[in-house]
Symmetry: C2
Subunit: 287 residues, 2 copies
């Protein structure tokens, strides 16, 4: 699967992993920002509820996005690989300003959409400037290398995380979701240890990373993103550890980023939140 490049003259759309369980009523800051980014009252948003087993996931997001002022919202419930060839739905997808993949099971997404015109169109449209967000399973699926499933716990173990090809919007990151809530540091470290070129994004619930065309990730939401940067790893025992054995890894860099903080996926630099509240003004001096 080749990674799409931005076409000449156009910049790629945002790629937006969300850690799951994002606020939908009350203060739905993440979904609101997504709608605004896509054009607000002019925005046409396509929802892909394929990951979910619940029949109303698509229509529920239709209502949420409409309540947030999106111009047009349409759920496209691709349930089979055959569905992924439906011209009427592909036409809707073609015209969307924003595409949103719901939560559920990321293997349902990859087995249903992978290799079909739907996957190809999402990649092409993102390269052309359309914004693509995914929550929970939808977030895991966005990148080239996706965590299919794995064992939980803080320490990485051999043969306890399984990667699968994802949608392929970027290969710079590997995403894990419900991160704080489910203790997934170990499986994300194990996924990165196979080949320490990508950056790990441990996404907490109700927290999103808005990755811009300049490869800068901005954090939004109520919790945090744990950034795992393995580019300075000096050693791992991943090639020799036996099944279920703890894996030795030396030289990981880790940042916990909250709303307002950002991370440059090119230079791998983290930036602290700007001091916006009066009570926090003094923090800025420490950066």
């Amino acid at each position: 699967m080749s990674l799409p490049e931005s076409r000449s003259g156009s910049s790629r759309g945002f790629i937006i992993p969300v850690g799951g369980a994002e606020e939908k009523v009350g203060d739905p800051a993440i979904l609101k920002r997504f709608v605004e980014l896509c054009g607000g009252s002019d925005a046409r948003i396509a929802v892909i509820p394929t990951a979910s087993q619940l029949p109303d996931t698509g229509t529920r997001y239709e209502e949420v996005f409409k309540d947030l002022g999106a111009g047009r919202v349409r759920s496209l419930p691709f349930e089979s690989r055959e569905d992924c060839h439906r011209e009427d739905w592909l036409h809707k997808l073609q015209r969307a300003d924003g595409i949103f993949l719901t939560g559920g099971n990321q293997l349902r997404l990859s087995t249903t959409i992978g290799g079909t015109p739907v996957a190809k169109m999402i990649r092409t449209r993102n390269a052309e400037g359309v914004h693509v967000a995914g929550t929970s399973a939808g977030a895991a699926f966005l990148s080239e290398h996706m965590i299919a499933f794995g064992q939980e716990g803080a320490t990485p173990r051999a043969d306890r995380v399984t990667l699968a090809p994802g949608l392929g919007l970027t290969n710079r990151v590997i995403v894990d979701q419900h991160f704080r809530q489910r203790g997934r540091l170990g499986r994300l470290l194990a996924a990165l240890a196979y080949n320490p070129f990508a950056v790990g994004l441990g996404m907490d619930e109700d927290t999103a990373g808005f990755i811009g065309p300049d490869a800068r990730l901005d954090v939004y939401g109520s919790d945090a993103i744990t950034i795992i940067d393995p580019s300075h790893v000096q050693y791992t025992s991943m090639d020799s550890a036996h099944e279920d054995e703890a894996v030795c890894i030396i030289g990981v860099r880790l940042h916990i980023l909250t709303e307002g903080a950002s991370f440059d996926l090119h230079t791998r630099e983290a930036f602290a939140p700007a001091a916006v509240e009066i009570g926090r003004a003094s923090c800025r001096e420490r950066v």
Copy 2:
């Protein structure tokens, strides 16, 4: 509480945090190494079961250490602060070559022993060369700053970890135990963020760090130690985050160390396991 220095001509004993649930039958590698370090068949070992609420914890360790060939083993069940002035037990403690603190509740240890002749004697004897190990709550208690309790989960949160003064054998580390098993990265990061001078030791079960007089920690056991080195932290929001809010931390270094690996608490360098098995010989070249 002042930190004891080695007396002239003598080197301090090992400080040995164990992550809890160490193997006691079958292949009790950690306890066996402790007995050997203390002198094997010549070793006099004092067990302090104060942290535990179970009546047989002390006698159980007496049996385990005897089975491992220790010369003399004696449980000293200090249950009250008054007990901590008993001359006969203090005399036994004075003569021990190794002291072992069992698991249970670290606040029971600190509230019972803290500020008594028992705490003072353990510090003095460790400075004179006696080895001191603690498992689980006993491990937490060893250092100057101890995690008393805290919320679990991967992301650090404000006001969700409580530190208390510990035994004070070293202030170089803050220990957390049952690390992988209970998802404690967040609370250890939060504890370190208050003042990023110490190194965090996230101790998995059945895993020990043998910290020598040269401040080098060697890993033993079946799982891993997660080393959290905050000395390069550029920013934390710990001073301004509201209660239960995620804390932003930029610039943490992290190593997952398995048996045979080591960490220099002076220079903060990690070293990979030496290649001992034939099948692993090639790993050494990559270090």
